[in-house]
Amino acid sequence: MLEVKDLSFSYGSRRVLDQVSFTACTGEVIAVLGANGAGKSTLFKCILGLLKPSSGNIFLSGKDIRKLTRAEIAEKAAYIPQTETPVFNYTVFDSVLMGTTGTLSPLKIPGEKQKNRTAKALEMMSISYLKDRGINEISGGERQLAFLARALAQGSHLLLMDEPTANLDYGNQQMVMNRVRKLAEQEYMILLSTHNPEHALQYADRVLVVKDQRIFAYGRTGEVLTESLIRKVYGIDVVITEAEVGGKKINSCIPIPTPEPAIPEAVKRYDQGQ
């Protein structure tokens, strides 16, 4: 369970989050939507304790994170970065094993217990067969699953994913999102930021929209994520359609082509030589 209460954050004098409050429960996928620079990453970093809020509180399983140590926060919340290519080509197993380090005393070397946790995490992500491969030699989607496994090995049940599907090809995007969906069914809570409303529509239980430093909308995906909301947040017209596949309803979001491409004001001014 995650509770964010009146959270404000500023970089210097620039306010990024202003009195943000929401609660989230385990077993759910929550998609965090918002334009670039809306404060999605800042919100994640505050929850992870990487940034200190100017005011407000964050509670992880009822505990104020300001009263928790780094390692204790790590036990409750894990971070899955955008798929990066690591400089050093560790094996997948070792990369995932690194997730167990937080709970280990500083001079200890991972033992059987940590290795078992790693093996289990790999199994949960169905990538045990990759364990001896180099982390740089697998596909971007597989690497994202390895990072997810690393978060699972860390032992936390709240997973914060920063644009997990950025830089992935179409097939890998769906594959990763499917695995995320499955994790929610195993009592994990997943907060993921995304620029793709489709992913929110298809995989998220709830949608959290950040706009103008505040929470613009928060609620069940079907109720919140509407055509008018997308127009307000991104300034584009879309139509949300419903398809039925095998008795299951799937929502999809289609942008409406405008006769004249919308050119941002700044570009117009530039073109006019002002």
Binding site: L48, R70, A74, Y79, P81, V87, F88, D94, E137
Partner: protein
Amino acid sequence: MDDTGGKTYKAKFIVLILCFFAAVLVSVVVGRFSVSLKDMFLILKAFFIKTGVPEWTPGADNVFLKIRLPRIAASLLVGAALSTAGCVYQGMFRNPMVSPDILGASTGAGFGAALAILSGAGYFGISISSFCFGLAAVMLAYAVSRLSRANETVAMILAGMIISSLFSAGTSFIKLVADTQEQLPAITYWLMGSLSSIKIKDVKFIVWPILAGMIPLLLLRWRLNLLTVEEESAVAMGINTRLLRMIVVICATLLTAASVSVSGMIGWVGLVIPHFCRMIFGYDYRRLIPAAILFGGTFLLIVDDAARLITTGELPLGILTSFIGAPLFLYLLITGGRRHA
């Protein structure tokens, strides 16, 4: 060790350890005054059990105990120290092209040595001055980096460059004002790097800082892996990365400054050896640190033997490591793209 690779790595370590001992034995024997293994055995026996009658070739005990042994010990220590320092810095800066002098330890030490030579300090005074200035340079660079608001590792690299260039300017200035008959050649020769005038005293001087730098890194070897992970991810995993980085900087600086203070500038070891270790032992610091210690020590010992033997005089070690290191690195550069799984 992970489940599958454990056995093959064990075999590789055994080979490396055998090479290490073989190199030590060969180094005892070779040289202008040859010490046979039998002599070595007799001398060691006498040294430890104090038997009365010397049965070895006359003079062999002096050569072995006063010249060869200190030199072998120094090569092993310096080689191990430099390659370990390079190994941890490459991980910490997430850049395989980093060498141990990135934060200015070597240039600081070089300046310290030049200053000591200029002020007419004795042989041992040069080592001490060099060691102190090496430490001071890194402390300065670290302090400067903390003033910057940039990303911590980037700030460190930039601060290291600033401090290095300041100290190398200082060294140039000292060379300019030094007396050209005695001091200037001494400074130049010192900077080229050599172990030819190593004495037992030097070994006793560097062994402590090198152990003090090596042991924490050996103990923290698993945790060092976490420094190669993106900063924010590592912190989110519950790691105090700032503290860990500080420990690494302190240890690597002790290692580098101690090495340079007795050997002068020896390039390439700290850059190339970690690459070879990764090629053979993988990326995991649990294996990488012990491998770097053994491999670095063995490598420098062999190169130093070459420095003793190639010409009738002494070749500066720094020149040789560059001659050997550069082609080796070229080889790595060409084959590096291939995966060695």
